[in-house]
Symmetry: C2
Amino acid sequence: MKEHTVTIYDISEKAGVSIATVSRVLNNSSNVSENTRKKVLAAIKETGYTPNAFARGLGLNTMKTIGILTADSSDLYLAKAIYYFEEELRENGYDSLLCCTGYELKDKKAAIDLLISKKVDGIILVGSHFVYPDACDNKYIYGASEKVPVMLLNAEVEGDNIYCVSSDDHDSVYRATMKLVESGHKNVLYYYNTTSYSGHLKERGFRDAMKDAGIEVTERQFQFFDGSNEDIHGMSAQLEKAASAGLKFDAVIASDDTLALSAVKYAQAKGYNIPDDFSVIGYNNSMLTNCCDPEITSIDNKVETLCKHLTSILLGVLSGEEMPKKTVFKADIIEKGTTRLNKD
Amino acid sequence: MKEHTVTIYDISEKAGVSIATVSRVLNNSSNVSENTRKKVLAAIKETGYTPNAFARGLGLNTMKTIGILTADSSDLYLAKAIYYFEEELRENGYDSLLCCTGYELKDKKAAIDLLISKKVDGIILVGSHFVYPDACDNKYIYGASEKVPVMLLNAEVEGDNIYCVSSDDHDSVYRATMKLVESGHKNVLYYYNTTSYSGHLKERGFRDAMKDAGIEVTERQFQFFDGSNEDIHGMSAQLEKAASAGLKFDAVIASDDTLALSAVKYAQAKGYNIPDDFSVIGYNNSMLTNCCDPEITSIDNKVETLCKHLTSILLGVLSGEEMPKKTVFKADIIEKGTTRLNKD
């Protein structure tokens, strides 16, 4: 049987102050009288309130620090997300400790353990590489959530003390694919380099759109690039190889802007006219889309908005507020020079 | 008067084993018998060996963890450096905790304090933004070095327990500028976006080369871009504005590949022939250099080599070995399509 867990409500009652006041004490707000602060701290000690996320900010146990995990800090998108998290947290008086885990499950587990041993108040998992199709592999996330709130960016796991903020990757690729088809491209190649949770959503978006458009697709139209995410030349070469092997395609929709950029380079080397003979849509609307000529149409999944929103949910949770478990934003298709899409 | 500090030598003597063996125990190497390990641990306890960098790996005080600081994790170069550090450290059994500090001195100080409070065994400062021209502002680095070894990537500070690994930024820009001049470009513009320590070295390299080539430069030839490091359009616009205001230039040498990329876009918009009418050299040889057509000649300062070398120096220091205080690598000029340089 589970013990009764002391909550912010118990402390509020015992100290004879409002929950908002307890929350202010817990957040070290200066807007609390010394007397009130003492009453609240006394109530916390008296109730044997075990150090949890709320108590940490008091310095009873540690400082206000959030642990951030990402698989690969050199990925443009993930690096940007980290940047926004750090900035938002700092502005709200929180420090952050980041672990770059790589892609191995055991290293992810070790990093979470490390951060928890360093007494962080919450954990943010940046990017969908932390969630596995086999639920057993996600136990480490549940384990962490028993100690501190766990926030997921662009991934989804259901559970107490777990909060997810994402962009609708299925919807955005679905819409982009439909628009490509409507603009006259029937032979669309889907070019991807990740099989992560959000990677699957994107791929399904493509499949579903082609199905709804009544266009049959073969497995060869799904090109998986297995090399480094900086190897533009290798990515172009793979498209060239697929074409040489007889695959016909007049448009590429990519799971990442690097792949889209390689498609532009491929098409230009072939002498194709972009966007009329050949169209390209990337993903993330990163600076890479502005690097070539023509610039690349790309899906903007609003990383800054997502990160700010996730941070505010985390801060709310840490203040004992009721916060939404799942928040989904809609992405925008930013049209530039590599497509000529029909307007909505 | 300073107390006698217990060293690895004292422990070696007391335990009756070699320094190498003590070092193996300190590093939790599996290649030590349980008996020997016990003897060494006993000697450490007996001598009252105060927890320092060496002892930490034992779990006497904490785990094997290195603190990494960087100003901006979304910078391509810094993100890559972090990636290599994390990878190298993980392979050597060390965890890492990263703080992204932003550019404010107070936030850098707070992050170092935070990492030291989390009992890291060493600190790596990634990028030259941590070193200030006014020595007083570097006190926080000395403060940290009294507690743990401090490693600097691409920066230089002299002091006990401080180790610097860098690429010779002055030399590389000097050589690149000379080669541009020798290939027929007299009106070279220097385009930069940082006034960091390494930024100053690069600028001085340019100045010295022009001076040695007997070419007078005006201050207008030094264009400082003050905007976001992703704003390619803004960077191109600034060059366009300088040209409209009467500044003549037929080559750009840039402190960063993003600026070089914007110079390529500027020249192409003007209809200049690259590399004959207009040449461009970037810095870092990042993936951005492969994004446009022609691809960009760039200075490769070998971030991977630097990071691996710095990590091995840090691991040496933590094992009690004597390691070099200053290590300088020579950068390469990687010629691609935006120059036609004379061969050496």
